[in-house]
């Protein structure tokens, strides 16, 4: 087995998925994930995240394109791939009348080299709920049971489809910790999320999916670097944008006005903010609801969605 650190554990090229009704959910995407990397697929609902992950998991045959997981086609060479992957679907699927422990025991019987069920249940904080029927679990507990089962076989590659949806803030942080620990232990993790802070915090690299295509990809820093920072404030009555110093001289690359609210975009945040505040000080103007923020993944995300809308 190749244990090269930089080995590409997941390789996707020209991937397309067209559903029976003719809807094209995935429109020719490509990316690769290295060993022991957390890779996030980010996107709004309907962007094609789940459609993509299901193909990587080998649940369906792609309409076009090529996937290699650990060097194999996950659909046609299922038997070679499955013992080395762990999967958590977007929506669990466990018989409601089985207890947590019975579910884990059943699953353990179907996983190569399974760890003791109790051990993984403890890992996700379900150790005290083993005797409870699945139907009585909360949504968050069900997600954690699903995660526990995905971890049973110590997989080399872990697919997590929206692993923290339905979890409270604490549960989400616990899951993040767990994912980081797994990554540090050498597990490759591909996750989807629509929580931007989750991708920003957790992912080594990410791809933003929009309408079935990859709109941006790279490290979180690389993706955000291309985005402008934002300044917004409210001008007092009687003042207009024209009263501000020439925007181009402040390094502002774009602006919007909505009533008395002004939004500026800039790639030189310090220069623009200094210029604006100096002007306000001299003119004796109070900028209410002043908000200065550097580029974030959120900006990148909203920027991509807005750009596509304009283009459409």
């Amino acid at each position: 087995m190749n244990t090269d650190e930089h080995e590409h554990v997941i390789e996707v090229t020209g991937l397309r998925r067209v559903y029976g009704g003719g809807f094209e959910a995935v429109r020719g995407i490509g990316f690769s994930v290295r060993r022991a990397e957390v890779f996030a697929l980010l996107g709004t609902n309907g962007a094609g995240k789940t459609s993509t992950v299901e193909l990587l998991e080998g649940l369906a045959r792609p309409s076009d394109g090529r996937i290699r997981v650990l060097g194999h086609d996950p659909y046609t060479e299922r038997a070679a791939v499955r013992p080395r992957t762990g999967v958590m679907l977007q929506e669990g699927g466990f018989p409601s009348e089985l207890t947590v422990e019975e579910t884990a025991r059943m699953w353990a019987g179907c996983v190569s080299g399974a760890r003791p069920p109790r051990e993984v249940l403890e890992l996700v904080g379900l150790a005290r709920r083993t005797g409870v029927r699945v139907k009585q679990l909360s949504g968050g507990e069900r997600r954690r049971l699903d995660l526990a089962l995905a971890l049973l076989g110590d997989p080399e590659v872990l697919f997590l489809d929206e692993p923290t949806t339905g979890l409270d803030a604490e549960g989400r942080r616990d899951t993040w910790e767990l994912v980081r620990a797994l990554r540090d232990g050498g597990t490759t993790v591909l996750l989807t999320t629509h929580y931007l802070e989750e991708a920003e915090d957790l992912a080594d690299r990410l791809a933003i999916l929009h309408e079935g295509r990859i709109a941006a990809t790279g490290t979180p820093a690389e993706v955000t670097a291309a985005q402008p920072a934002r300044i917004s404030f409210e001008l007092p009555h009687g003042y207009f944008v024209g009263d501000l110093p020439p925007l181009a001289e402040l390094g502002v690359c774009g602006h919007e006005v909505a009533g008395s609210v002004v939004r500026l975009r800039t790639h030189e945040l310090q220069r623009a903010a200094t210029g604006l505040l100096t002007w306000a000080e001299r003119a004796g103007v109070e900028l209410r609801r002043l908000d200065v923020r550097s580029a974030s993944l959120e900006e990148a995300f909203l920027g991509i969605a807005a750009r596509e809308e304009v283009a459409a």
């Binding site: 679907l89 669990g92 018989p95 009348e97 579910t103 059943m106 019987g109």
Partner: protein, 257 residues
Amino acid sequence: MSSLTTPTGRLGALARAELTLLGRSKATLLTAVLIPLVLPFSLRSFVDGMDVEESGLSVGLVLLPAAIGFALLFGVYSALVGVYTTRREELVLKRLRTGELRDGEILGGTALPVGATGIVQSLVLVAGSTVLLDLPAPHAPHLAVLGLLLGLVMCAALAAVTAAVTRTVESAQVTTLPFVLVSMTLSGVTVPLELLPDRLASVCELLPLSPVITLIRGGWTGTLSVYEALGALATALAWTVLAVFAVGRWFRWEPRR
């Protein structure tokens, strides 16, 4: 690499969980166990009125295949349609497909407890008929065993096909009706084919459950010629292969959206 799972191990784990679930599903259990035990014996007075002796049959030779037929139809077929549909709608089947289990193992493992129930019931029915209806020992038990096993596999496969067109557990009550009704009336379950007009009987022989009932009854009477036995086996096999093919082609692993 650490020890890989085996098909037997995976089947066992799944079957064990399904057995637990079967034990907790009172409605399924009741239909599956009670109907085959009670219904045929309520037919007794009706059978007594038939001219069974004239066709060389006895009450026991009519009632035992009928009871096993009911066990296959209600205990196995109808019960499994409900189980497959429930598991699909709960997204259990989809989740299982992400793991090492193969498609056939998922359907087979899910069917095992119900199939085992069918075998146990048949044995109980044989014992009951022998004691209560003076049923003689079977003349060709191998035919009866073959018939029962083919019947089990066929009913499981037909249940998976039926589940593919069943949207909810409630609608399973409707989607299972055609096969259950046709089999009950025209496959020799309630009325032996021997008592039907010849032309009708020769068409009915080709229905899926007919060869199963014929083989079971023939196992006791020992009056099936080699030609008749092979014909019944071929018919049963053909339906089973067809049903298995249909499952591979049309089975749905996820709910419709």
